[in-house]
């Protein structure tokens, strides 16, 4: 019987095995990259809002504290969104005739809420709580970035589990004194590593085991 395969088939077989491995690895790598891409995590994406509200104006230029509008950030899971009345505290007079503010005034007149588009949206099988982070020395800008420089808010981080865990494994690398939580100019280099460990101890941050236990965030 004649040989079915030519001798060169050996090489073809080897090359195709190699090609197969490379293909699988590339597919795997692209998958992890795609999963982390802004297309799937919503990172850096701005949303069309009913009012062109600008944090750059209100926080950066006018110096309004986050809590003036997000008033429950220290006490509840949600940071809190400002009711229309909050806007009217100032806009009863300032830019009162601006067309950009018409939806706000309509909402106030008709007692209907403004429908803001959510920018950050964790899946609902995860539990997140602002108050504990604010109380234990994690500043707004650590998670939300330079809000004071954003004409429209976008998501600065992926909000994926690996991102949460990176901090929960080593919180001392990210924390700051409680007086600086709302300071948008704070830099991580403002504390050295020894001060960080002292701060971690004084804030009584729990052990790595507890902070990375599944039931902390999936309950």
């Amino acid at each position: 019987m004649a040989q079915f395969f030519n001798k060169s088939a050996n090489n073809i077989a080897r090359i195709s095995i190699l090609a197969g491995v490379v293909l699988v690895a590339t597919a795997g790598f692209s998958f992890t990259q795609l999963a982390r891409s802004s297309y799937l995590t919503g990172r850096y994406m701005e949303k069309q809002q009913p009012v062109q509200f600008s944090h750059k104006h209100h926080v950066g230029d006018d110096g309004i504290d986050c809590r003036y509008c997000h008033s429950t950030v220290e006490t509840t899971a949600s940071a809190g969104m400002p009711p229309t009345q909050t806007c009217m505290n100032c806009h009863s007079q300032i830019w009162a005739d601006s067309p950009y503010l018409e939806p706000v005034k309509a909402s106030f007149r008709e007692n209907k809420p403004i429908l803001w588009e959510r920018v950050h949206d964790l899946p609902e099988y995860t539990y997140f709580n602002h108050s504990i982070h604010v109380a234990k020395g994690v500043g707004c800008s650590t998670c939300h970035g330079q809000i004071d420089d954003m004409p429209a808010v976008y998501q600065e981080n992926t909000l994926q589990m690996e991102w949460c865990l990176a901090c929960h494994r080593a919180p001392e690398e990210f924390i700051r004194p409680k007086s600086e939580i709302y300071n948008m100019k704070w830099k991580n280099s403002d504390l050295d590593s020894k001060e960080r460990l002292e701060l971690k101890a004084s804030l009584k941050i729990r052990s790595k085991e507890m902070m990375t236990s599944c039931s902390t965030c999936h309950r």
Partner: protein, 245 residues
Amino acid sequence: MLKNSLPGVVRIDDKGKSMNRAICLAFLFVTSVLLSACGIRSDMQDQPRYKAYKKSDFFSDGRSSRDFVAGTVPRGQLKENKAFYTGKIDNPDVNAQPVTTTDASGNTLVTSFPNAIDEFPVPVTKELIDRGQDRYNIYCIVCHGPVGNGDGMIVRRGFSKPPTYHDERLRNAPVGHFFDVISNGWGKMNSYAYVVQPADRWAIVAYIRALQVSQNPDEVLKANSKAEPGSVPPKSGETTHGGKP
């Protein structure tokens, strides 16, 4: 290899086994096709429950967070302590209206304060004043400015200029008046009751008093002969009960 798997060589008693295997494989294949046909479902991401601020399709105004039913009192919010919750004396005279005038810039100035209490209903401590400073710097500083001169950032952007805290009139105004302004608003200033809880309102009032002392220590001392130089402003650990600090 090739020979063995020729159809004719398969033994009869093996047939059942391979049929079972085939059924199993077919079953797995069909279920996986069915599963993937369901598409990517996100019931776990978006669960049918209300998270804060989630839109409701049930209520006509679209809000899932509802107000209290009119006339009901939540547990622990009976507000029996009049002085603490209103800044007014126990049996206010309803006919007594404050005397007000309107100044050149359109601000409403008040000169008599019927019914307003003149003593803090809470102990004035360093912690209270610190808390007050914290809250003042969030909610009031934007208009009233860092020391209460009425030169905040929003005023510089065009909001009407509020009166300074450091004139004769407001230095002598009872604490109940400040509490009333925060709770119910005053002229062109809106109420801040919806974000500043009563305990925090008293903290802010205590801090405003401290600001008044810091801006005009001599005047305040003269007006308040009870206070001794050493006790103004209160130091850490010291406790002054009621009255003007």
